[in-house]
């Protein structure tokens, strides 16, 4: 048995020079947590809808509030980002896209496409931009 002192330690994050790919990685976690919080709201909406017109009828008014619409907008961006970056991770999982050039390009691609998808979704998707 090797002694505990010989075991390799995970290097501390602070030894690395800051790079934007790190921010992308942290964003993946952050958006994941926001999506989890949104899942609570989603179940809440389903419960309201299931409780009949008295409760379900309030949803239209609820999404009439600007703050709620902004939260929904933020949630959809988190979803698009986490989805795109998640696919990036799945591609890495099959062993592709690890070259520095490719990883940097896919990082920018994921970030910009998540912004574009969110903008397109809210401009042309639900309610044709009327919600903002």
């Amino acid at each position: 048995m090797p002694s505990a002192a010989n075991r390799p330690l995970s290097p501390h994050l602070s030894v690395y020079r800051w790079q934007y790919t790190m921010a992308l990685s942290i964003l993946h976690r952050f958006t994941g947590v926001v999506l989890s919080a949104g899942a609570i709201a989603l179940v809440g909406c389903l419960l309201a809808l299931a409780s009949g017109p008295q409760w379900g009828g309030n949803l239209e008014g609820l999404f009439g509030l600007r703050i709620v619409r902004l939260a929904a907008l933020g949630w959809t961006w988190c979803l698009f980002y986490h989805l795109a970056n998640g696919v990036r991770h799945l591609v890495w999982d099959i062993g592709r896209g690890f070259e520095l050039k490719h990883a940097r390009f896919s990082g920018w691609f994921v970030f910009l496409s998540s912004l574009a998808a969110t903008a397109a979704y809210w401009l042309w998707g639900p309610f044709e931009g009327r919600l903002l």
Binding site: P2, V43, L46, P53, G56, L59, T76, L90, Y121
Partner: protein
Amino acid sequence: MSLRTPLGHAEGLGSAGHGTGHWWAQRISAVALVPLAPWFLWRLATLPSLRYEDLLHCFQGLGNATLLTAFLLALLYHSELGVRVVLEDYVGGGLRVACLIASRLAHIVLALAGLLAIARIVTQV
């Protein structure tokens, strides 16, 4: 130099004792969500309005209700796996176990509530 004992190597379960189970579950739920999440957004995007009748109608068909159930369960399962990793990384001491238990129970309750809500939405007249 291998740091593994021969027995540990044969079992292949790693120091946590779970092997690659968590990793695989996260990938499988992720793959399920790749089509399900856009489907959900698309369903909402094609709503005529947010009125009660329109919302109800949107998910009442058996096909849509099935996909909504699949989306909800995959989402909550994936969420539980992800939140667990975040808690394990950032919460220490005795609080960690409390948070892990609370997160798991909260996800189970959300899944049950969501399933019951969908069942009622489907049968709503």
